[in-house]
């Protein structure tokens, strides 16, 4: 029992440190997490059939950091099979428990129970000796201009394909709102490609001034994002021509937000994003919902470009 207690106390310390690194005191971070995960969904539960499923999926996704290969391998070398199973299952359950609780409040009993069962089954699956599948490298149209899109696309292409399907369904069911959300979601997916921070060496390598480096990054990002959304844009424009200006405004806002995430990254480089950056980005992403704020990304882009350029002077 002592070793279990030691393990969870150690994990708690590590998690608290990651909250502190994000820019929040750990106590405040836990309060924010509880608010976002439990209180907010409990109060604002949308009455849509699919929403509980999305919420449960988010709960499962929240356990993703616990399943990384390196972490699992390390824990297996430290603990016996029985101890590893108990610890890993317990931490999975602890992560999904708040989500199960909210699902219970909203009478989604089967989903709440299913979430807990899956969390435990995932721990069992981790116990199995996985055969390393050396799959061939997935070709990508983005290899010519590396690296964020090439790598990000390899991870997210099922999601991108799904969003293309959603656009198709939007056209079939004459639902422009669904289509525009899907296109915006593709661009948000592209923003995720820039969330990982590369080592300083990867920036230092560039034979370019900070200004040229940033222009190159922004140009590559926007062109490659455009390549991903051009087909849905053309399709939606053909079927909803009266709303084309809304579509183009949404895409433009999306590209501005994509630029902002890149500039935020290099403004902080090589430090990771912190809470202030996260909130700013969240505000920019949701600003299209509130027309007075739709132009917020424009002056922000210019401001962040200056800051990023100043920071990159240390490396280029």
């Amino acid at each position: 029992m002592e070793r279990y207690k030691h393990y969870f106390s150690w994990q708690f310390k590590l998690f608290s440190r990651s909250i502190r690194q994000f820019g929040l005191p750990p106590a405040a971070g836990y309060v924010v997490l509880a608010f976002v995960v439990i209180v907010l969904p409990a109060l604002l539960w949308p009455q849509k059939a699919y929403f509980p499923w999305i919420y449960a999926a988010v709960g499962l996704l929240a356990t993703k950091p616990l399943h990384s290969n390196g972490r699992i391998e390390f824990l297996k070398t430290c603990y016996s099979k029985r101890d590893f199973l108990f610890l890993h299952a317990t931490e999975n359950v602890m992560f999904v428990l708040p989500f199960s609780f909210v699902l219970l409040i909203h009478k989604q009993f089967l989903l709440a129970l299913g979430l807990l069962v899956i969390a435990i089954l995932v721990a069992y699956a981790a116990c199995l000796n996985r055969k390393k599948l050396n799959l061939p490298a997935l070709p990508t149209p983005f290899s010519k201009r590396l690296f964020e899109f090439a790598l990000g696309f390899r991870v997210s292409f099922p999601l991108v394909l799904f969003l293309y399907y959603v656009v198709l369904m939007a056209i079939v069911h004459d639902n422009f709102n669904l289509g525009i959300v899907a296109v915006y979601a593709i661009i948000i997916t592209c923003m995720g490609y820039y969330s990982a921070m590369e080592p300083d060496y990867y920036v230092w390598l560039h034979n370019a001034s900070p200004k040229r480096f940033l222009f190159q990054k922004l140009k590559t990002a926007i062109l490659q994002a455009f390549a991903l959304v051009v087909v849905p844009i053309v399709a939606l424009s053909a079927f909803f021509s009266e709303f084309i200006w809304i579509l183009l405004l949404a895409v433009l806002t999306g590209f501005l937000n994509l630029s902002i995430v890149i500039l935020l990254k290099y403004k902080e480089f090589p430090k990771p994003f912190h809470i202030g950056d996260g909130l700013l980005l969240a505000a920019c992403v949701i600003c299209p919902i509130y027309p007075p704020f739709v132009l917020l990304p424009i002056p922000l882009t210019f401001y962040l470009f200056g800051k990023a350029k100043q920071n990159l002077n240390n490396y280029l």
Binding site: P136, S143, L146, L151, Y315
Partner: protein, 224 residues
């Protein structure tokens, strides 16, 4: 030529480099030796500009960072990047147009596979391959022999000699002294923040003996 003028670097109160001055002449191979934590990697990072420092790094090539091929001791690769993509990325970042990368693959690396499937030695070879393709005047290799097999070590030794013959300047660190004696024109001992000794070929053995005496002799005294 790379001239270091009173290079100093501290991390908090810990002084790593202390007014280190030295000139690395063109067309020579230099070896840097020193204990773990003596500041070899910090010195290389200061020379490349990856680390800020006091003092000056002077060279006829400016900006110097664009003329150095630097092999760090700790390598980072994205999991879902192929070897070919990494080489292409490095060359593109350096504005070097390299045709037929696969044809120049002298390490016989599986360039179309994900780097995550590479062994430690293969990753080191990939990084070295990407740097050597750039054809730069200066190369800084931090522990280039770590993790690579015997055959590849021989190949790297040959490559370093070939670089010198091509008029390049190579500065490297290694814990394997024989790799330095076989390739270097001069070996410098980094200790207490500066080069305590720097010897030419004739005195390589003497330096090794004095290092051995200091390290092993002290350890034997502690054992009693």
């Amino acid at each position: 030529m790379i001239q270091l003028v009173e290079i100093s670097k501290s991390f908090g109160s810990h002084v790593v480099l202390d007014r280190l001055s030295f000139t690395f002449e063109n067309n020579k191979v230099y070896g840097i030796v020193g204990k773990n934590g003596s500041g070899k990697t910090t010195l290389f990072r200061c020379m490349t500009g990856l680390e800020s420092c006091k003092g000056e790094v002077v060279s006829e090539h400016q900006p110097l960072k664009n003329h150095i091929g630097y092999l760090p001791t700790e390598l980072f690769f994205f999991k879902l990047m192929t070897g070919l993509e990494y080489v292409r990325f490095v060359c593109h970042a350096r504005n070097k147009k390299i045709e037929n990368i696969a044809g120049k693959n002298f390490f016989n690396l599986p360039l179309n596979d994900y780097i995550s499937t590479y062994s430690t030695g293969m990753k080191k070879k990939l990084a070295l391959f990407a740097i050597l393709l750039q054809d730069l005047p200066y190369y800084i290799f931090d522990e280039p022999f770590n993790g690579i097999d015997l055959q590849s070590s021989e190949l790297v030794l040959g490559l370093i000699k070939a670089l010198r013959q091509k008029g390049k300047t190579v500065i490297m660190s290694s814990h394997i002294y024989t790799t330095l004696t076989q390739t270097c024109d001069e070996i410098c001992l980094l200790d207490e923040g500066c080069f305590k000794q720097h010897v030419l070929k004739a005195d390589f053995d003497t330096l090794e003996q004095s290092m051995h005496q200091e390290i092993v002799g002290n350890a034997m005294d502690l054992l009693g």
